[in-house]
Structure formats: structure tokens, C-alpha cells
């Protein structure tokens, strides 16, 4: 039932508003529909994504928090763990049952004690440290591994783009 999901999302929204983690802003796109959020993530400092502000969309299932939300960046982001269409591929977003990459232990997967905040923090650390072993964007993974300079250059361009400059 969507009722309990709604309550939980409300609680999470409240917590994220009152006590937001550094460089993360998240909330419902429109409170008419509490199951569609947007999140703004600041590129972690000291990485090639430093200074960028990356918008993303979170879509929650009606049985949240039993199932994980889906997350998608709405800006272009060239990153090994982000599909070219913006979907984020990190283990925390995978339901315990499915394993698209085939080698995640269930300990890293979604569980109802996870939350939007933890997802976003994981995404921040993912931005800081791409995992090129389970690549969602093979191109990006290759560039990251073999041609770090080019990757940095693309990342810097992305940052500039994300700021609208």
C-alpha cells in the first residue's frame, strides 16, 4: 500500500530538509506526487567532478521501502557507473533478487533500512571513485582506465555544463 510508503517518504523528506548532508539537496518534484523526487548532488571536492551540480530524478515504487527507487541523472554525465541515458548503476539500488552484473553480494544490495540519503551519499562516493569493474557505460570505463586525462577533460566540461556556464 502506498500509505506506509508515503509516511516514510515524508519522514525522509523532513530529515533531509532539517539536516541535509553536505552538498546534497533532495525533495519531491511536486508534492502532488510524493513518489517522484529530484535530487541535486554537488560533485565531490578534489575529484574531476568538483564544483558541478548534477540534477537527478528519483522514482519510488509504491511498496517503498521494500523495493529500491530508481535513480536517473537528468544531465549528461560521462561516468563508468552511469548508463548513457543517465540511469545510475550502483549496488545499493538493486533489489536483493536481481543482480544485473552477476557478482554483487546481497549485503551490498537494497534493504529497507537504506534511505534516500544513503543512496545519495553512495552516489557521491561513486562520483569520487568510479568502479570500472561493473561498468554501465563501457566507453566511460575504458576512458577512465586508459585515458585518464581525456576523462578529466570530459568531466570538467560536464561540470561547466551542469552549472550552465
Amino acid at each position: 500500500m502506498a500509505g506506509s510508503a508515503l509516511k516514510r517518504l515524508m519522514a525522509e523528506y523532513k530529515q533531509l530538509t532539517l539536516n541535509p548532508p553536505e552538498g546534497i539537496i533532495a525533495g519531491p518534484l511536486d508534492e502532488e506526487n510524493f513518489f517522484e523526487w529530484e535530487a541535486y548532488i554537488m560533485g565531490p571536492e578534489g575529484t574531476c567532478f568538483e564544483g558541478g551540480v548534477f540534477p537527478s530524478r528519483l522514482t519510488f515504487p509504491p511498496d517503498y521501502p521494500l523495493s529500491p527507487p530508481k535513480m536517473k541523472f537528468t544531465c549528461d554525465l560521462f561516468h563508468p557507473n552511469i548508463y548513457p541515458d543517465g540511469r545510475v548503476c550502483i549496488s545499493i539500488l538493486h533489489a536483493p533478487g536481481d543482480d544485473p552484473m552477476g557478482y554483487e553480494t546481497s549485503a551490498e544490495r537494497w534493504s529497507p533500512v537504506q534511505s534516500v540519503e544513503k543512496i545519495l551519499l553512495s552516489v557521491v562516493s561513486m562520483l569520487a571513485e568510479p568502479n570500472d569493474e561493473s561498468a554501465a557505460n563501457v566507453d566511460a570505463a575504458k576512458t577512465w582506465r586508459d585515458n585518464r586525462e581525456k576523462f578529466m577533460e570530459i568531466a570538467h566540461r560536464t561540470v561547466k555544463q551542469s552549472l550552465g556556464l
Binding site: 508515503l6 539536516n19 534493504s111 569520487a128 556556464l165
Partner: protein, 667 residues
Amino acid sequence: MPVILLERIPLPSLQTYTSVSVLVLSVALYYAYHTVTTVDINSIHELDFGDGVTVEPVADDEVLNEHHDMVNISLPYDSVGWNMFHILTSEVWCVWILVNSAYCCLILLGKAIQKLVFGELRVSEEQHLRDKFWNFLFYKFIFIFGVMNVQTLEEVVSWVAWFTILGFFTLLTQLSKDRFEYLSFSPIAARGVHVKLLCLLFVILLCSFALLFLSGYVGLQAGPTIFAFLAAECLLLGIRALYVVVRYVIHLWDMTVSSVWENKSMYIYYTELTFELSALAVDFAHHLHMLLWGNIFLSMASLVICMQLRYLFYEFKRRINRHKNYRRVVQNMEARFPMATKEELQIHNDNCAVCWERMDSARKLPCGHFFHNSCLTSWLEQDTSCPTCRTSLSEGQQVDPNSNVPDERGAAPPQPPQQQPQNMFTNHFFHFDGSRYVSWFPSFSVEVTHTQLLPGGRQRPIQTSQLDSMARQVQSVFPHIPTNVILEDLRNTRSVDFTIENILEGRVQVPPPGLTTMAVLTDSEEGSDDSDSPSTPSQPSPRALQLARSGEGEERVGTSEEAGGVSSIMDYNVPFLMETVPQPSDEAHFTTGSRFSKSTTERESMLQSRKEQMLQNARKKYLNRQTNSSKEAASQIDDTRVTSETNAADQVQLRHRNESTFQETQR
């Protein structure tokens, strides 16, 4: 533009359709009226068609023929109205016009209901509606011509009428269901919307009962088979509508009553089960009846019906399997995980990690974690591990249900990592060791404890003695660093080595007594030149408050507990800021916590402004960095700037405090 045109070409707009229908109907009415009056006046013999010819040149021949028939048949009633009706229903083209007018009325009625109850339809609702419509049309077409194999026009018309009414209500039910599901996503839907939707659903429900009676009445004359066909459809409609109503009522009740209703999910589950299974059963029986009765084993229709039967059968089986799984989970849970005692709950004193709500009763897992009965059930239905620590709970590892000691498990998988003692107090624990990834990255741990349940003044549940001894170790290396700073850092790193490393690399700022607050705030304002402009008032932040206190070195911990109403504490606040002190960080104040307004619009606008602020600050910082990297000779300007910023920072500081106190009094 071309898309819109393409969409519009196949169907004329409602207005055109309505006006054409009205025109045609009036022509038919006029014809009927004319016929009745002329027959009346001229009794049997002479007929004058002058008027008829001028108005309806097309129908001329027919009029002539019909009039001869009519004259022979003569009119059965005395009143003009009934006679007109008789004529309209006895002529084929008039019947079609009548049918068309009925459809027009129905469409207009549907439109009116949509305007009144639903307003603008959402895209997905429209899509669903269209799918449902074509689906319905297809299956009923199969039914009428494939199964019933109707021959006469009368039969076709009556079946079509029946299915039109049924389809109308079915579509409305579908629409209501979609709308209900959408509304259940929103906490702010107005009461009127719910009332309207529920009223519509009740009307549908009543109509389905009326249709059921009608089918009974028809069945008396047409036999039990026809009755079964008609009644099955009515039943399905009624079940679906009732299902939506029940879910709706439960949802509304759930949203208004804030307390946790312990057996709620069980009731909901069984209602859903009953409704889904009965709908599937009725549908299945209906289709089976069609197949057997129609004698149509070797036709397209039989193929379609078989497919449908197969689908329904698998749905039924799936549902039963799910139920078996549910029963197994519940039984297993009741046998193996005891309900927590009152004392245990008091000691544990925490919210359920699944729904984040208070636990007045809970089940205890062998690993020492507590959850609501219902939350645990729904999770265990899809996975067999503890949500918090992932300890496997599969049935292989039987535990004595009476044992409350978690360590008695024999063949248990590896113990949950070292969090056992803390789980006494906290449920959600998340440690992010940033320095493991990149050296500059801050380490922090998120510990979601629950303030309103913690007795006031209690320290955070970290083993203080252990921390103290660690702090002493660090202090023996760095005697000049205050204990509270070391403690703060230790609380995050939980390792002597990491803290020492942090201090060595300057990530731990040593506060000159009394100046910390200012220094931090000065730094935090440095990135933006016009930070003191009144257009961007920063929200009062618990973090700033906390910062100020910790800078004074008086209250080391527990201050964040005063950010009351906050249901959870992030204890990385202070250390994070301290660690970022060496770098100018202007996001310090715009991402800090703000008020959580009760009003939706205010919340939305606050979120919007926070977003914009974040973007603006990021832009400024980016541009600053660009200019800084291009010319390094900005140092002398900096000197002058610092003094002015100290003033500005002072003011900001003052404002923060005022607002914080204001906030506290508000609570």
C-alpha cells in the same frame, strides 16, 4: 502540429459530433411527427407530402413507401408521443439515429463526469483508458459474433446496448482506480476530490447491482445461460468497484490515523487476496462457460478465449503461490521470532527501521534487531535476511524460539560486524570512511538515533570508556590538541591511526580558543563576495548552532539533540565542517538544515530556493576558481577583504543565533 492533426483526423471533435447527432435526431423526430400528424389528419386515404418533400428530399421515397405501410398497419396508440416512438423504433434508419443519439448522450455524460470528478486526465490515465477501451471492444466483439453468434438486428442492438452500458462503467471504474492510486501518492489531495471520487464509485457500485437485477429479470425470460453471461459481467464490475472503494477507505483511514495499527497489513492483505481471487475466479468461470456453451472449439473465437483462460489460470496460480509463501513466512515468523517484551522495547527504545515509526510492539530477530510485525512480514515475503544486518534468516538455521540470547545460534553465518553493542540503542548505522577512497574525502558516520525517545542529556551511545582511552593515545602524540577535538574526530574515524593521520594532514582544525566559530564562518563566507546581501537569507541551522557551541569547547556532544523535531541525528556535522575548514567552503550555510514547514507551498518554495542557492554558490565558486587559477596575484586584495568579512561574519553569526533561538521557542 502534424502530430495533433494526425490525432484529430480519425475522430471528429466532440462538438462536431454532437451537433451532427442533434441535427440528425431532429430530422428523425420531425419525420416521425410529420408522419403521425399526416396519418391522423388524413386518416386512411389522401396523403399530402408537400411538407415532407421540402424538408427531407432524401427520405422522399422511403417516406412514400413507409406511409403506405403505415397506412396499412395504422398507428397503435392514441397519443402522438407514443406513436412517434413507435415509428422511430420500427424503421431501420430511425433506429440507427436513435442509437447514435444515445451514444452521443453517453459520451457527453462521460465527458461531464470526467470534468466534474477527474478534471484533466493524466497521460497515463488516458493511455490506460484507451487500452481498456479497445480491449473491451475486442473481447465483446468476439463474444457477440463469435460466441453468441447473433443473427438478427434486434439481438445485436440489445447486446451492443448492454455492453455499452457495461463498458461505460468499466471504464469509469478503471479511471477511478488509476486516479485513486495516483491520489494515494500525494499527501495533500483536497477532501473534495476524495469525496467526489468515492461518490462516483458508489454510484458505479449501485449501478452494477441494478444491472445485476436487470440481468436476473432478463434471465427469467431468456434462460439461465444468458443470465449467467449477464450476471458474470455485472459481478465483475461490482467486485472491481468495491475493491477500489475498500482500498480507498483503508487508505484514507490509514492517512488520518497516525498511530500504527498493528494488524492493519494483515487485514489489507486478506482483503486484497479475497478480491483478487474472487475476480479471477468469476472471470475464469465466465470464460469457461463461453467456451463450453458456444460450441466453438474450432474457431478464432475459441482460440482467443483459450488464451484468455490460460492467462487467468496463471494469474490465479501466481496469486495462490504468493499466498502460500505469505502463509509460510507468517508461520515461520511466529514460530521463530518472539514478540519483544515491554522491557526489551524500553531498553531498545527505537523506531522501526523499515517504516521509521515508533514501535509499541515488535518482533525480535535472532540477530537482536527489532521490527514491526507487519513490516517484517512484508520484507520477509521477498527476502530472507535481516534488513539491518543482512544475517540470513532462512529456515535452515532453527533457533529456540524462547531464547532471547542472540549468540546461541549454532550454525549461524558470520556475526554482523561489530555493531552488536550499539544496536541496543541505534538501529540505522552507516559509516562512510571517505579517506579510504580519496585522502581528502571526509569520513563520517551516520547514526540515526531518535531524539524524542532518548532521555534528555544522555550521551551518544558510543562506548565512552573506549573512546577516552583512544583519545588519550592520540593526545600522547599531540599534547597540544584539545581532548574534545580528538574525541570528535575519533567518533568518526573510530580508529587511532586514522585520527592521527587526519591531524597530521591538517584535516583536523585545532581551534584557537574562542575564535573557532568566527574562523569557520569567515571561511565559509569567503567564496561569495556578496554573501551579506540580504536577498539570500540563510535558514537558521542547527549545525551553525552546534558549531558555535563546540567552538567554545563547552558542550562537546548532544547539542544536536536540541534540534528537536529532528527525528534523527547526523553526527558528522561538526567534524565535517572542521575538516573542511582549511578549504574555503561556501556551501556551509546553504545546505544546512532549514525549517520543515507545515505548508506545502512553503516547503516547495524553500526547496526551490535552496536548489537555486546551491547552484548559484557553485557557479560563483567555479568562476572564482577560474579567476584564481588564472591570476595568483590577488593576495593583497584578500587582506582588505578579510576585515570586512569578519564583520559580515559577525552579523551572520548573530543572525544564526537569533534565528536558532526563535526556532527553539517555536517548538
